[in-house]
């Protein structure tokens, strides 16, 4: 905004605003910090009742202890398999479908696209009962595919791809067609290389969604050996004898991939979220 106030007052105002925003940011970050501070705290100090906001010790063995007490590595493996498979399938299908909606004219296109968008409006909880029955009928309970397939088609991703690919010039595709390239070749050799930014966004979001998923795995994966990281964390939280150092250590480990993504791919995260608001 453009202002007409005096420079001195403006500077004071800016500092006041900064202080307010910085204080808010400290509050926002505190829960993450506290998770870490609890995870490395000596076990006996958790229940001492004294507050010490700074770490009172660096007990890294809390992590190895926690890992020794529960099959966290198995849960991680399950989560990795599910998330990676989901990324490969969902991103490929989103790209194909979004491309068709963006660059082809065909009978029923608008109706089908509205159909896709309406899928965004159907919360999974509304259909959780029949979805469970469908997956059960396919014999996919306690099976990786039982949580991968139902979420493989992702309306949001299709929507994002369509919005992105609409701006690819038609002349480029026509030129390739005149050169005798097949439609699949055009898609693979012309369209995909131009779509790298949106592919990165899709990969990151799909991975994050599947890694953080809870409801569907909760219903489909009832066998503890098939648990994902999130189900395992929920199991720990529910246990009567709650060991907070263990839980915070495991929570931190479960967050590690997300924190890595956050640090290195923040631009794509922001792009994806802002895209929902602008398009």
């Amino acid at each position: 905004m453009v202002t007409t106030t005096s420079p001195a007052r403006q500077r004071l105002e800016t500092w006041g605003l900064w202080l307010l925003l910085a204080a808010g940011a400290v509050v926002m970050f505190f829960p993450i910090y506290w998770m870490f501070a609890t995870a490395v705290r000596p076990r006996d100090q958790i229940f001492s009742g004294a507050v010490n906001l700074l770490p009172t010790g660096w007990v890294w063995s809390n992590f190895t202890d926690a890992l020794g007490r529960m099959p966290f590595l198995d849960w991680t493996w399950n989560s990795i398999v599910i998330s990676v498979a989901a990324v490969v399938i969902t991103v490929s299908l989103n790209l194909l479908c979004g491309y068709a909606f963006a660059k082809f004219r065909f009978a029923g296109r608008d109706i089908l696209f509205i159909g896709v968008l309406s899928a965004l409006m159907i919360p999974i909880q509304v259909i959780i009962v029949p979805l469970f029955l469908v997956v059960a009928d396919m014999g996919l309970l306690n099976n990786y595919w039982g949580v991968i397939l139902p979420r493989a088609a992702e309306a949001f991703g299709i929507f994002m791809v369509r919005q992105f690919m609409v701006s690819i010039p038609d002349e480029l595709l026509e030129a390739a067609r005149l050169d005798g390239a097949s439609e699949l070749t055009i898609f693979l050799k012309v369209v995909l290389p131009l779509s790298k930014p949106i592919i990165a966004v899709l990969i990151i979001f799909t991975f994050m969604w599947r890694w953080n998923d809870f409801v569907l795995p909760l219903v489909i994966l009832t066998d503890q050996e098939m648990y994902t990281v999130q189900l395992g964390l929920n199991l720990l939280k529910g246990q009567y004898n709650t060991e907070w150092t263990d839980i915070m250590a495991i929570a931190l480990l479960s967050l590690a991939p997300m924190l890595v993504i956050f640090v290195f791919f923040q631009r794509q995260l922001i792009q994806g979220i802002a895209g929902t608001g602008l398009k």
Binding site: A100, F214, N234, L255
Partner: protein
């Protein structure tokens, strides 16, 4: 299949070949978009649209999964009307939405406007507000449960320093919902901020310059430039946040399990309990359909209001 037209015998006349391959090519290119969307369509049909119809079917039956579904007409729906727990969970959902949606929009807009200015460390500040967006609901719930812990939680410990408490955050019906609301704000504010920031950055500075020439004060600039231009964004965030609030499950399921008593049970969790704890598939599906209708109705109403007001702007 792609090579079929190429392997036609050479002796065929040139014209036939080109006519056949021309037909083949054009019908193939007409088929192409359908082939591209087919896998998604199939998956949507099996895992979204069919279950939705199936849910409608189950909702007029009584079914515990063990024996065959028994048709009961609208009985599940009429039962909803007199089910106190259903109304309680619906009330909880409405209170929760009313408390979280406007607050996260207002705070998100405030942050976006503040962090859109040239401030020291603004990139870092933005990141810190945005960070909770990547934290899973389960992890959020677990961390919140520890922060709000009655006996050893850091919030009560800090309150004690200033002579307040201890507050029974999660074990009292009075404070459990407020704790959940605060936790939800922690998650949602950054999301709203990012969407608003992107919208603010797309506003051309020339609008503000023109407003200043006309002698507009800062509040007036907000009232007559920023706010109207942010309308579509606010509208979208409103819908997204309401849908989010009406569907909230993971966070509350892990944090309080809907308790103590029924004080934090939302409609979605009541559906889950009816289906997977009480095995009342018909009743659960009926509630699911009602929830779906509510979300649909809300979105349509918002859409109408938005369109009507847009005509006057």
């Amino acid at each position: 299949m792609a090579d079929l037209s190429m392997t036609y015998p050479k002796e065929r006349s040139e014209t036939t070949t080109s006519r056949v391959s021309g037909w083949w090519r054009s019908s193939r290119s007409r088929l192409t978009p359908y082939l591209f969307i087919a896998p998604n369509l199939l998956l949507f049909s099996v895992f979204v649209f069919f279950p939705l119809l199936y849910a409608a079917y189950i909702s007029v039956h009584q079914w515990s999964l063990i024996d065959a579904p028994e048709f009961v007409g609208a009985q599940n729906y009429t039962r909803l009307l007199t089910d106190g727990q259903f109304w309680q969970s619906l009330t909880n959902t409405v209170i929760y939405s009313a408390a979280t949606v406007p607050t996260s929009l207002i705070l998100g807009l405030f942050l976006a406007m503040g962090l859109n200015r040239k401030l020291a460390t603004r990139t870092l500040l933005r990141s810190l507000y945005f960070l909770p967006v990547v934290v899973s609901s389960v992890a959020t719930a677990v961390i919140a449960a520890w922060l709000f812990n009655d006996n050893y939680g850091v919030i009560n410990a800090l309150l004690k320093q200033v002579g307040i408490g201890p507050v029974s955050w999660l074990s009292s019906p009075r404070w459990a919902l407020p704790s959940i609301i605060l936790t939800t704000l922690w998650v949602r504010i950054g999301f709203c901020m990012v969407v608003y920031l992107a919208a603010l950055q797309s506003i051309s500075p020339s609008y503000y310059e023109a407003a200043v020439i006309d002698g507009a004060t800062r509040p007036q600039q907000f009232r007559f430039v920023t706010w109207p231009l942010l309308r579509p964004t606010t509208f979208l965030l409103l819908i997204l946040n309401v849908i989010y609030s009406f569907q909230v499950f993971d966070l509350i399921f892990v944090m309080t399990g809907g308790g103590p008593g029924f004080s934090t049970t939302m409609i979605v969790q009541y559906i889950y309990q009816a289906a997977f704890a009480s095995s009342e598939m018909g009743y659960a599906s009926a509630m699911g359909m009602v929830l779906f209708m509510l979300i649909l109705l809300f979105t349509l109403i918002q859409w109408r209001i938005n369109r009507r007001t847009e005509q006057f702007v």
